[in-house]
Amino acid sequence: MRLALMSDIHGNIQALDACLEHARQQRAERFAFLGDLVGYGADPSAVLERIMPLMADGAIVLKGNHDEMAVNPPTEVKNIGSSTATWTHSQLDPDQRAWLDALPMTVQLDKILLVHASADGPELWRYVYDERAATASLDAATRSPEVRYVFGGHVHEQSLYYRGSTSSLMKFTPQPGIAVPVPSHRQWLSTVGSVGQPRDGKPEAMYALLDTDRWQLSFHRVAYDHDAAAWAIRAAGLPDFFADRLELGR
């Protein structure tokens, strides 16, 4: 099975549509959305209208910290992360909020554990930026002995962690479009990047595609109409910063 792994869409419908189309061209058979469907971006409702029918057709959808904030927006804005939560909340209808609220924190698919942040306390939204955090997440996940893979988002970068010849994890930065063998006799953890808000200096949307027959993982970068997405943010009256960063990928 070819499983498309998409995370951190952040209300960016242009980026989501481009990735969905790219994944279908790559013969993706199933979709998994690893949280943060909304927040920051101008089209949270359109994103949910796209993803809710996919879930009805078997797609997996997880809850992220921004989805939680959109359901229960903070009464005061504490940081940039929560600055758009109230606006996002106002854009969603009650059904959409209820749907978001009911999303699971983790889903296990046979050997694969899906989680937005870290499997080591999913509700704590820990960032998996380095080998140490990756080790904590993978160790927690593999307490279920059948789990060999952990896929997540949250950090907006594409990384693959693996065990080298000693037991500690090593971090690998993948090249876009290249299928990396990830045989199931090893344990792997990957952050699949962000569909809707790349932050590595390149504006192209990120997602990953896992082939579970050949156990190969490909990281993709997809060009999309980021001008339109940025324009929508400005038109909605959201802070310019969120529009600018889409154009720069920062």
């Binding site: 693996y162 080298g164 010849s165 000693t166 090593m170 690998f172 090249q175 990396v180 045989p183």
Partner: protein, 493 residues
């Protein structure tokens, strides 16, 4: 695992005679056991040995080799056929390549002539360059892993310790330690660096040293301390052991063996270029010396080496892209000074600020220009004349440390001569004049620049003159009446 007897069948593969029973794997020839259509070339099956005493490294190496073999292409590696399920019975089927290993060569043909050393060295350097272009560094080159085909080309074997920049390095670890064969391993590998293409250049250096002298430059150290010696120690100069060895060859061998990777040849293409053009090698004290390095020098380096530690390596193909071989085809007749000037400007831009780049200035003359009967047209006289004008043309480009060489090629087909030269020397960029080689007539015939651009194995820059003639002052010749295009045409690969 027991040695599989000839006649045994494993996952549809019929095992024939065992050609290699090594420390960690057996290799047998064989074919398909049923009547499916095979790949059309002879095959060999490699089965790792996994008895109770064997460490986990065996199977990891096997995993690494299986991954890398599946993506490598070209004539310098055995073609991949199939791989078994690692969790069941691991095996790898690949092309069986006819030839002799360099080890066999060393065991039976010593001492080789200088010509034979050149051939073997060029073959190895080309093979290694082809590998580096595919982002793979071999890291375990040794005479047993280099196969020489009957046509003289080299095939690299055994990718069990190799590193491919596109895949997680399964052999890397946090506590970096040396992985490789002690006699051939590069100094940076000793401190755990995996992925520097110049580590393979070092290993070729060790093999060239063996070919030149019959000895190993650093012996076969058994301890970590013994291996660290090469971080600071120069080997005995080959000419001390073999006084009749030409200094240029020692220069090449010792440059490959420099303790610091940055002092070695920056790519296999550069090494092959020098071996194929010994007359262009600038022989330094390194090539001439016949006594060992002084204790004082070694002691200083030993202090420096004590601080050497692991650093990550850049991606192999990017690293060799930084050290291009730039070739310029300089026309010798019917050419304006403005064109020659523009050509030089374009070469300067192509070389950019890459200190490791090398420049090959080539001019193609027709064979009829030389004659064996008339003295003033003798080959050497004519060539010398053209070489002198090439040197004069290139003089403003001269940078300290940059390697520039000059070549006169004789051929009736200018385009083909340029293409052959570029292919044979792994040239990265060809710079040539557009108008002077007849771009204007291209509608009627396939002119030289068009033919070169169509078939070039690399980037080609076609240069039109781009300077107002006033700038050239008195040197403008009266023929300069053309004022066509003012831009360069760059055609990517």
């Amino acid at each position: 695992m027991k040695l599989l007897e000839p006649g045994a069948v494993l996952d549809g593969f019929l095992i024939e005679e065992c050609t290699h029973a090594g420390g960690w794997a057996n290799i047998s020839r064989g074919g398909l056991a049923d009547d499916r259509t095979g790949p059309g070339f002879p095959m060999a099956m490699k089965i790792p040995r996994m008895t109770a005493g064997d460490g986990a490294e065996n199977i990891v190496s096997f995993e690494v080799e299986s991954q890398i073999m599946q993506v490598l292409t070209g004539s310098h590696v055995p073609r991949f056929v199939a791989v078994g399920d690692l969790s069941r019975v691991p095996w790898l089927v690949m092309e069986y390549v006819h030839g002799r290993t360099l080890q066999h060569w060393l065991d039976t043909e010593m001492p080789p002539s200088v010509g034979e050393i050149i051939h073997l060295g060029v073959a190895m350097a080309h093979a290694v360059h082809a590998l580096h272009q595919q982002n793979t560094v071999h890291l375990d080159l040794k005479p047993a892993n280099v196969l020489i085909r009957d046509d003289g080309s080299a095939v690299l074997l055994d990718f069990g310790l190799s590193c491919h920049a596109h895949y997680p390095d399964l052999l890397a670890e946090q506590l970096r330690k040396a992985v490789g064969s002690p006699a051939w391993i590069a100094p940076e590998q000793v401190v755990g660096v995996r992925g520097d293409p110049r580590s393979d250049i070092f290993a070729i250096g060790v093999m060239l040293y063996q070919l030149c002298t019959g000895e190993l430059p650093f012996g076969e150290p058994q301890t970590a301390g013994g291996m660290r010696q090469r971080l600071w120690m120069d080997p005995t100069p080959p000419r001390k052991l073999k006084p009749d060895l030409p200094p240029w060859l020692q220069e090449v061998v010792l440059r490959c063996l420099e303790p610091e990777a940055a002092q070695r040849y920056p790519s296999g293409a550069h090494l092959a270029f020098d071996l194929a053009n010994p007359e262009h090698i600038r022989v330094t004290e390194r090539g001439n010396k016949v006594t060992g390095t002084k204790f004082r020098v070694h002691f200083k380096r030993w202090l420096k080496a004590a601080g050497m530690h692991y650093q990550p390596s850049p991606i192999a193909s990017q690293q060799i892209d930084e050290v291009p071989i730039v070739m310029v085809a300089v026309p010798h007749n019917d050419v304006t000074d403005a064109t020659l000037y523009s050509l030089r400007q374009a070469v300067a831009r192509a070389l950019g600020n890459r200190p490791g780049a090398r420049l090959a200035c080539v001019t193609v003359i027709s064979s009829s220009q030389t004659s064996s009967s008339e003295d003033h047209k003798s080959e050497s006289t004519v060539h010398r004349r053209y070489l002198t004008s090439l040197r004069q043309w290139a003089q403003p480009l001269d940078q300290p440390g940059q390697q520039t060489s000059f070549h006169v090629l004789e051929s009736g087909d200018v385009a083909q001569a340029i293409l052959d030269y570029a292919t044979g020397n792994n040239v990265s960029v060809i710079v040539m004049g557009a108008a002077t080689h007849g771009l204007k007539t291209q509608r009627f015939i396939a002119t030289v620049p068009i033919k070169v651009a169509m078939d070039a194995p690399c980037t080609i820059i076609l240069v039109k003159q781009s300077v107002p003639f006033e700038l050239l002052g008195a040197s403008v010749s009266p023929r300069d009446d053309k004022s066509d295009g003012h831009s360069d045409v760059d055609t990517g690969r």
